[in-house]
């Protein structure tokens, strides 16, 4: 018989640790995954949301562009729609403004107030913004409309997360 013969006790020890180890790993792995996954996932996908708007079709007139994305509220996933005012400025650059009034959050409309043509108008308390989104002093809003970062993906407009700008 060779010297390194495995005794019954050793054999049992090895097998039990082995099996136990597998079991522990089986239990721990998902836990680690749960903990790490949200972090990984967030980095994996880009935060830009696709729209149906072709970049080539954007004109100087602000037009409403809608987009939808999925929002998870605790256990409840819902489709959320949002919109942006999109146009080309004098330099031909595409501008995408958030329609959310910086006063108290109503949705602003382009050119809807007869006494203030060519402005973004908020029906709630008469907030006004010029075409580039700058708030008109003397109306309730105290900051310009947020701006979406934009991306051109195969000729289609993709919107990032709207960012605030400095007040006027």
């Amino acid at each position: 018989m060779s010297k390194n013969r495995v005794s019954r006790r050793q054999f049992l020890n090895y097998t039990l640790t082995g099996v136990g180890g597998f079991m522990a790993a089986g239990m721990l792995m998902p836990m680690v995954r749960f903990a790490v996954d949200p972090v990984l996932q967030h980095k994996g996908e880009s935060d830009f949301i696709p729209t149906k708007q072709k970049i080539s079709e954007i004109t100087e007139v602000p037009t409403r562009v809608d987009y939808t994305f999925e929002q998870v509220d605790a256990w409840y996933t819902s489709e959320v729609t949002g919109s942006a005012w999109v146009y080309r400025d004098e330099n031909g650059e595409v501008v995408a403004l958030s329609p959310v009034c910086k006063h108290l959050g109503c949705v602003v409309d382009w050119n809807s107030d007869e006494s203030n043509p060519e402005h973004f108008y908020c029906p709630c308390h008469g907030g006004l913004y010029t075409k580039d989104g700058t708030n008109v002093p003397g109306t309730p809003p105290i900051a310009p409309l947020d701006v979406f970062p934009i991306q051109d993906v195969d000729g289609y407009l993709h919107l990032g997360k709207a960012e605030p700008r400095k007040g006027a």
Partner: protein
């Protein structure tokens, strides 16, 4: 936000939801779905000026005078809290009869059978309805200024 900006929020909306377990159960459910979809849109558009209350649910077979007086109760409370515009939205046509008894504005919209519609049309139709509704609010506000 509401507490801080109370002075700016002068409008309150109370959706009225009929509940029924009888033959008209389907209709009642349809109304509730339709009105709640509209309310969500409405709230989003006019967030800064309007307070959307959780809906008022009532049994379809309840005593109508009792219902009206319940609503009037809400009304008095809301008005005393300084809301100058009170709106009710519903698709239940029974309220039409009592419209005159209410201080606030009753907005009655014909309920549309959304359950048979494709998502795309559904959104389109809702959007049209919301647009009309928005106009109505804006007009009301302008009249009172």
């Amino acid at each position: 936000m509401f507490i801080k900006e109370k002075q700016y929020i002068d409008t309150v909306v109370l959706p009225l939801y009929p509940v029924s377990f009888g033959d008209d159960i389907k209709q009642a459910v349809g109304i509730t779905e339709f009105i709640s979809l509209l309310s969500v849109q409405l709230e989003r558009q006019f967030k800064g000026r309007l307070l959307m209350l959780p809906g008022f649910s009532y049994l379809k077979n309840a005593n109508e005078d009792k219902l009206v007086s319940d609503i009037k109760h809400w009304e008095t409370e809301l008005m005393s809290q300084g809301f100058s515009h009170v709106f009710y939205v519903t698709s239940d046509s029974n309220w039409k009869i009592h419209e005159g008894n209410l201080e606030g504005d009753l907005i009655w919209l014909p309920s549309l059978p959304l359950e048979h519609m494709e998502e795309k049309y559904k959104n389109q139709i809702l959007e049209d309805q919301v647009k009309q509704l928005l106009n109505l609010f804006v007009r009301k506000w302008q009249n009172n200024e």
